[in-house]
């Protein structure tokens, strides 16, 4: 089981890293935000799989922090992207 | 092995970050490059920590603690630099 979960974690990593191409190439800002979000979700999935496989609760906490801050960062990216509502100044 | 791989990644990041800091003219991109450079330095330190694993720890806790401190200090420096860049741009605006 452990091997299967670790392999699955690796595969998740492989697929979401494929999405990196979108972050790098865009072309729209929305593409970049989405790809970064996918990276976050994939990272969480990989950490959960690895955390269960290796019985390492620290990885769960890391996934938790990642989830909260990925939400925060996604919101910030969507809100602060140039061209979004000009009435709203950013931080 | 993991330690060495990321140590080398750190070395590469140092080069990339320094290049960005020296070549790019946009102040924010320079600050961002500074962060890449800092990340590289922390990774080199992390490689040292990983190679010092022992006594039941996955890595030497002393450099790990130092990196942690370093990340916070680097963040404070980044905020300072961003605030300064914004203030300067606003001053130009008014001038």
């Amino acid at each position: 089981m452990t091997e299967f979960l670790l392999a699955a974690a690796l595969l998740v990593l492989v697929t979401v890293l494929g999405g990196l191409v979108r972050v790098l190439r865009g072309p729209a800002d929305a593409d970049r935000i989405m790809a970064a979000q996918l990276l976050g979700t994939g990272g969480i999935a990989a950490l959960l799989l690895a955390g269960v496989a290796m019985a390492a609760p620290a990885l769960f906490d890391l996934a938790l922090i990642l989830a909260v801050l990925a939400a925060f960062a996604s919101v910030a990216m969507a809100r602060l992207a140039p061209g979004d509502d000009p009435r709203e100044p950013g931080p | 092995m993991t330690g060495t791989i990321f140590g080398l990644v750190g070395a590469a990041l140092i080069g990339i970050g320094l290049f960005g800091m020296l070549v790019r003219r946009d102040a924010l991109l320079r600050i961002l490059s500074f962060n890449l450079l800092g990340g590289g330095v922390f990774l080199v330190f992390g490689a040292v920590a990983r190679r010092g694993a022992g006594a039941g720890f996955g890595g030497d806790p002393v450099p790990q603690a130092i990196i942690l401190t370093g990340i916070v200090v680097a963040f404070a420096a980044t905020t300072l630099a961003v605030a300064l860049v914004l203030r300067l741009a606003a001053a130009k605006d008014r001038a």
Partner: protein, 492 residues
């Protein structure tokens, strides 16, 4: 009272005062700073006496954790000299700055006033930490503390030019500290400790360590503004308010300089690097000559003083090849000469910037060509400038003379006579730019139409600092024995 507490108190009390200054607000912070200044001075004098009388450095292991696991403070002779210098200068600046950054009772808090006092306290803490800390990473934190405290001082006035200067300074400083940190990582990986005393015993000249020392030195030189990494200094130091310029030029660049000394003659005490030392001194010589020539050509007084700092920093690096190539008395002379140069330049330059600030405030500008009449209108200020200038030139008897004489005779003793030529040539050029200002000031003329009277305290403080710089030259040579205490490159 346990004497080993003194260095710790000299660091932690200003940190505590800085922290307390934030909730106290501008007025409270000002009072706190002025109240703390004599305490800090007493601590510095106490440390100097203990080190001098005991003949050994003061050491404290924090939390009773001995290095390599823990961190130790170690105040040697160099640290004692720098602590006292910092205490005297910062105390003087605090009194001087009351007129600019004071807050009257009941008055609303102003931005500059709120920021200045915690920054001054933070800067003091950072300098003290940089000279007594004995751990390479703690020294990194000291460097960052120093940068954070110094950067806003540069642009306190908020004009566009000063903001630009501050940004450039910040970039240089951040790059410098991150390079330093890189070296810390490599040294830890090679030797398994960051304690300088332990490193001095453990370090061999293997490749990772040499690379580490190279990047750390490069980073620190950027912070010390040694030519060719000096470009940030003149606009930053010339644009700041006079009180801020004085601490920046007198103390902040010395903090990173002390770190270079700790690296070369602490960590690398057993690994001589004579060729690299020649390069450093070559850069120093170039700084002396080019910096002085640039100062000669400046139209504005504060820029002239700032370029003079670039030149005087060059002298500090002449000691490196002399120490690397010799031992015994010649090396001792070089070491003392370098440290006395750092101290006497600190006092002279603080005095000079304050005098320049007083003149600029009086005339409403600092164009050298329009300073005629200064001698009649403000003789004390011009006298201050002249005394500080004499010390920078190295005219006997002054602290600058003692420093340059020691370096000169060490250069001859070490058989490296070419540095002696540089010292003499630099002195002549320094004489040139100081004379330029004095000659213009003594010319008859009318200063400002309706001059605001200069508070005598401000003139007095600037004059006192200049006098200290001169009086250093009267000290018997034995007094300089202090700075030899605890040198890691000679102890067995």
């Amino acid at each position: 009272m346990a004497w080993d507490m003194l260095p710790m108190l000299a660091v932690m009390l200003p940190v505590l005062a800085m922290v307390a200054a934030v909730p106290l607000g501008a007025r409270g912070a000002e009072r706190l700073t002025l109240a703390y200044a004599p305490v800090g001075l007493a601590l510095a004098i106490g440390i100097m006496l203990v080190v001098q009388l005991g003949g050994v450095p003061i050491r404290q292991e924090l939390g009773h954790w001995a290095p390599p696991l823990g961190i130790a403070f170690r105040a040697d002779g160099l640290a004692a000299a720098m602590l006292l210098t910092a205490a005297l200068i910062i105390g003087a600046i605090a009194i001087f700055a009351r007129a600019d950054f004071g807050t009257a009772a009941g008055a609303a808090e102003r931005r500059q006033a709120f920021a200045f006092w915690p920054l001054l306290l933070g800067l003091w803490a950072a300098i003290n930490l940089a000279v007594v800390a004995n751990d390479l990473f703690t020294l990194y934190v000291a460097l960052e503390l120093l940068t954070f405290a110094a950067m806003p001082l540069v642009c306190l006035d908020g004009s566009r030019a000063t903001l630009q200067a501050a940004l450039r300074y910040l970039m240089f400083a951040l790059l410098g500290s991150v390079l330093y940190l890189l070296g810390v990582a490599l040294i830890y990986g090679s030797a398994g400790t960051l304690d300088i005393v332990l490193l001095a015993q453990r370090v061999r000249g293997d490749i990772p360590v040499m690379i580490a020392i190279a990047v750390m030195t490069a980073g620190l030189l950027a912070k010390t503004a040694l030519l060719p990494l000096h470009l940030w200094l003149p606009p930053a130091h010339a644009g700041a308010p006079a009180a801020a310029s004085a601490v920046l030029s007198a103390l902040v660049v010395k903090g990173s300089f002390v770190l270079v000394l700790r690296l070369w003659f602490g960590v690398m005490a057993r690994v001589p690097m004579p060729d690299a030392a020649q390069i450093l001194a070559g850069l120093g010589a170039a700084a002396i000559l080019l910096g002085s020539v640039a100062a000669l050509g400046q139209a504005r007084l504060k820029l002239l003083v700032a370029y003079s700092t670039v030149a005087q920093i060059g002298y500090l690096f002449l000691m490196f090849p002399l120490l690397a190539a010799s031992a015994g008395e010649v090396a001792a002379k070089a070491w003392t000469g370098g440290v006395v140069q750092a101290v006497s330049h600190a006092f002279a330059k603080a005095a000079m910037f304050l005098a320049a600030g007083i003149m600029a405030a009086r005339f409403g500008h600092d164009r050298i060509a329009d300073l005629s009449g200064a001698g009649r209108a403000m003789p004390v200020t011009l006298l201050t400038f002249a005394l500080a200038g004499l010390s920078l030139m190295g005219v006997p008897p002054s602290g600058g003379f003692a420093a340059k004489w020691l370096l000169l005779s060490a250069a001859i003793g070490a058989g490296q006579w070419w540095w002696a030529l540089v010292i003499l040539g630099g002195g002549l050029l320094t004489g040139g730019y100081v004379y330029r200002v004095l000659a213009m000031g003594l010319r008859a003329g009318d200063p400002a139409p309706e001059p605001a009277p200069v508070a005598w305290q401000r003139d007095g403080i600037a004059l006192a600092l200049a006098l200290v710089s001169v009086v250093l030259g009267f000290l018997p040579l034995a007094a300089f024995g202090l700075v030899q205490i605890g040198r890691l490159d000679v102890s067995p």
